[in-house]
Subunit: 353 residues, 2 copies
Amino acid sequence: MGDMGRGIVAVEPGKRRIKVGVAGFGNVGRAFVELLVERRELLDSRYGIDVSVSFVADSKGVLARREGLPWSLLALSLKVPRGGVSGLEGGSPGMSVEEAIAATDIDVLVDVTPSNYSRPDPQLKWYRLVLGSGGAVVTADKAPLATRCDSLLTASWRPRLFYKATVMAGTPLIDMLRWGFSGRIVERVTGILNGTTNYVLGLAEEGLGFEEAIRDAQRRGYAEPDPSSDLEGLDLAAKAAIISCTLGSPTTLWSVERRSVVNEEAFERAREAFSRGRRVKYVAVVEVGKGSFVDLVEVSKNSVLFNVSGAMNAVVIRSSEAEEVTVMGPGAGRKATAAALLSDLVLAAREVS
Amino acid sequence: MGDMGRGIVAVEPGKRRIKVGVAGFGNVGRAFVELLVERRELLDSRYGIDVSVSFVADSKGVLARREGLPWSLLALSLKVPRGGVSGLEGGSPGMSVEEAIAATDIDVLVDVTPSNYSRPDPQLKWYRLVLGSGGAVVTADKAPLATRCDSLLTASWRPRLFYKATVMAGTPLIDMLRWGFSGRIVERVTGILNGTTNYVLGLAEEGLGFEEAIRDAQRRGYAEPDPSSDLEGLDLAAKAAIISCTLGSPTTLWSVERRSVVNEEAFERAREAFSRGRRVKYVAVVEVGKGSFVDLVEVSKNSVLFNVSGAMNAVVIRSSEAEEVTVMGPGAGRKATAAALLSDLVLAAREVS
């Protein structure tokens, strides 16, 4: 075990050959493939996982090889502009992910397409194809789970569906809830799970106006060009739904009550609270078996959430057996999300071979 | 999935009959059996685990039934004085755990005997018997892993050895390190992992003397009658070793450098630091692949460890991929430890059937 000293956690014996398909090849998809290229020898030496990539797909088409894409070609694919992978030699412009799944023989689908809550159907179809034939899915896309976890987290599919990248990506909260609290009764999870809104509410405390704060967050890459999904609590509601699903209480983001949004008025409130030594946080609350909501809450210095600043995330987990557990750490972010996906790929490898 | 609304995490399909042997029947052993009695129907309905207890063993003997102890007899065993289980009807005074393992047909051994670092051999023998025949071990006993993880966490045994109760019992840190950080490179783990010393150092800040503080902690049940294992860093060193082993860098508690102890002098230092707005914390530090140590460190208000008060535990995990992750929560404690054992029993059930 001498060669294990670099801190990668060994999981299980035996050599496994794992064929991966990557759906989505934007910022996070590329970060994942980069990390995979960087770590593929470590995956082999530490976990006995012999990984290959059978396809990468973007919105315009697919680059696929049934026997696995050469690593040199994969490295090249990282350099083409968005929407360009199918233009590479041997690429298939116009090919869909569904067709790529049918044409290759993947063990694990990695879904890094953007979360499309109003239209999760294509992704759901992919998941059913892969899970239904004994494969595993690793996802950073929140939409399928946040809308249809009842049909995905079934007894037979649940063990092959990995999604730690969907909530607090850089912080393995989902593993803690899934495995760490198995057998226990989790009553309530309260979390600052959206870095964008936590960051801009911090700027409100510094006296910045709403529009100005949004522009600042966009400049730093903390907010999307269209930040409405964050500001209106849709992203938080999706994460609340996924947490609730994980804790055995299936729900959808549409059932999560969104009691408030981050707007000018919220900025006023945050400023005013801060002047009284308190802070306003935009949180998701999951009351397991009862319901979930998203709201602006005022916290005092005594709350562990008080010190969660900037784009940082944090959750407080209340169980019936012991005092509260708090987890703080990075949420989204290119490399953090890629690391979460890679981690789930290692876990997925145990379940498909 | 409607009946899953109470927050227990479903793990996998299929019904499993799991026969458990419990070695150690003191404070924690009894809390575990109590919780098992309370939750056994939930284990069945949520996880499909049909659990039975084949034996309970204390220092004086064993109460065993190959076909499983009746729940009524188990309930009765909770009421006899320490060392008395083998005096119950059908009990075997003088029988050893080793003999009990041979005489029954258990799937999972639950080790809740006290951590005996200088003589872990009996427990190691039990583990080898059970793991070697395809069974699983769930343990709250730190000694076997802290002394011989190299021989226990082998590729074939590792997946069947569960030990989240050994470190931050009420807080599922081990699951996070084991599964949550799989595939990632953890560089350093720094933790307040001994509630006793953290509690008494807090009393130092309040101006209490060393002896007085120890007596206070003993009165509240935070310190053992002989607190030397806590004060001299042996408990912290054992936890550091277990964390290092979990992260793929096998070591023993004897290799963990104990740079300081909690004594009169440490109390002086804590008081003096507190007068300057800082705090002294007794921490374990695991530098993965490099070495581990136990030391008194001074932290400022900017450190997340600053606010960890009383018997609370906390760790900071540094990885190569993203910002630090902090986990705070309950450490030892009767019910918290029992909950950790029950949780691991659920995970163990997946691996043995």
